[in-house]
């Protein structure tokens, strides 16, 4: 089957420091992937590079999303093409309410896709249904983006954004950190509900616990800026027992 995302020999730096080193991997449509790896191995860097964060510069290699060259696309175009990154550390933006932000994001996407914008009723419905499923209250939607939200609430809001925008490729960077057990279950259910044949997920996590709730098809292990092993779910178990000692 054709790949949704293909990365080949990618090298990327922040400032002078090289973080991704000849990184390659493939994402097929309809599958769930997990990336595990020690702190500082470059997992968040990888996700930011895919999303187009200008802080990181790609020095060589290629990234193809649905067969199109990502390097030529600005972050908004990548998003509208179907890439979503749920951040490890979502930032706070004062002065812009969640409701306003989500509405603008959806409007932009529909415009990009050449679709008519949703009318007010359809918009509210789309938002309410997803917010309710994730336990997000109206009050939270009225507040400025992430300002004063707890760590777990921020992760929940990232998941809401994903559910609301319905991307084709969802990267969730440590979405399990900061969530209490109940919230983790809710968010995992939300992800499982979104699984479908044309949508893929990349879960970045340190813990097997998340992968018990969202079963991955493939686990990649990343060390020092590139993939060192690819396997099935049993890899997570192995890591839980042995750590990363074998890969260093």
């Amino acid at each position: 089957m054709k790949n949704l995302l293909e990365i080949k020999n990618l090298n990327a730096c922040v400032g002078e420091k090289q973080i991704l080193k000849d990184f390659s991997f493939e994402i097929e449509p309809g599958k769930v992937y997990a990336i595990m790896g020690p702190n500082g191995s470059g997992k968040s860097t990888l996700s930011n590079v895919i999303a187009g964060n200008p802080v990181y510069s790609v020095t060589s290699g290629k990234m193809l999303f649905k067969g199109k060259d990502l390097s030529k696309m600005t972050p908004d175009v990548r998003a509208n093409e179907g890439i979503f990154l749920g951040f490890q550390y979502p930032i706070e933006i004062p002065g812009i309410s969640y409701a306003q932000f989500l509405k603008q994001a959806l409007t932009s996407k529909m415009k990009y896709l050449g679709q008519k914008p949703l009318d007010a009723v359809a918009y509210i419905k789309r938002l309410k249904v997803r917010a309710q499923a994730l336990g997000v209250t109206d009050e939270m939607l009225k507040r400025p983006v992430n300002v004063g939200f707890s760590g777990g609430e921020k992760k929940r809001m990232e998941t809401l954004q994903m559910a609301f925008l319905e991307p084709d490729f969802c990267i969730l960077d440590e979405m399990d950190s900061g969530l209490d057990v109940d919230a983790l279950k809710i968010v995992a259910d939300g992800v499982n509900l979104m699984r479908e044949e044309n949508r893929s997920f990349l879960l970045i996590t340190h813990y097997e616990r998340l992968l018990d709730l969202i079963e991955p098809d493939v686990i990649y292990i990343m060390v020092d800026g590139h993939i060192v092993e690819k396997g099935d779910k049993s890899l997570a178990r192995k890591l839980e027992e042995n750590g990363y000692a074998d890969y260093k």
């Binding site: 998003a79 979502p90 930032i91 400025p144």
Partner: protein, 207 residues
């Protein structure tokens, strides 16, 4: 340009709330005891001085200002607040942006002469430079001769936060729209929403 002077007298116990846009010349306000003067001002390329004299006990004023500077639309704003008697309060909140080759020059002075005990005065100026060629100057001045007073000022001039911009763009919002959302959020927080349309118009032309 005709420089005009507007005089305002806020009599004892009166509470006045003004919303003014694009003024030039001098606005000279006197405030008597227990009276308050709230000014909400939007400037987009003028030269204006606002002078407020707090002449009676418990007189207070709040000067809220948004300025928008663009190419060939420089702003010069001068605030002078005089705490002429004891127990008077003043607040200045200024927010501004400069785009293109726009310039802004803000000068604000709080005067607390002898005898102005138990007065409180504050001034906050926050601005964003929206282009490499824009220029903003802020000169705060405190002239204090009384010892039992509170007076504070702060100024920050920065650029649009790139991390905010990336976050919005990573959700599909194009750069121009994202910048406009952020500029508006910056200018309108703690400022009258009445300025929204003017800010929108200005951004259409300058961003």
């Amino acid at each position: 340009m005709v420089m005009q002077t507007i005089n305002k007298i806020i009599s004892a116990n009166e509470k006045i709330n003004d919303v003014l846009m694009n003024q030039s010349g001098l606005l000279d306000v006197v405030v008597y005891e227990n009276a308050s003067y709230d000014l909400n001002l939007l400037q987009a390329g003028q030269s204006l001085k606002v002078k407020v004299s707090l002449l009676g006990q418990n007189a207070c004023c709040t000067l809220r200002t948004v300025y928008l500077s663009g190419t060939d639309a420089d702003n010069k704003i001068e605030f002078e607040v005089i705490h002429a008697v004891e127990q008077t309060n003043s607040k200045q909140e200024i927010k501004g942006v400069a785009a293109g080759f726009g310039k802004a020059d803000f000068y604000g002075v709080i005067r607390m002469p002898h005898g102005s005990q138990k007065c409180e005065g504050s001034q906050s100026h926050k601005a964003l430079l929206l282009s490499d060629n824009a220029c903003i100057k802020c000169t705060p001045e405190l002239e204090i001769y009384a010892d039992d007073v509170k007076c504070a000022h702060g100024s920050s001039i920065g650029t649009l936060d790139e991390t905010y911009l990336f976050y919005l763009m990573s959700r599909g919002i194009d750069e121009t729209t994202a910048r406009q959302m952020l500029i508006k959020a910056f200018l309108l927080s703690d400022m009258p929403q009445a300025f929204e349309t003017e800010i929108d118009k200005w951004m259409e032309a300058n961003e």
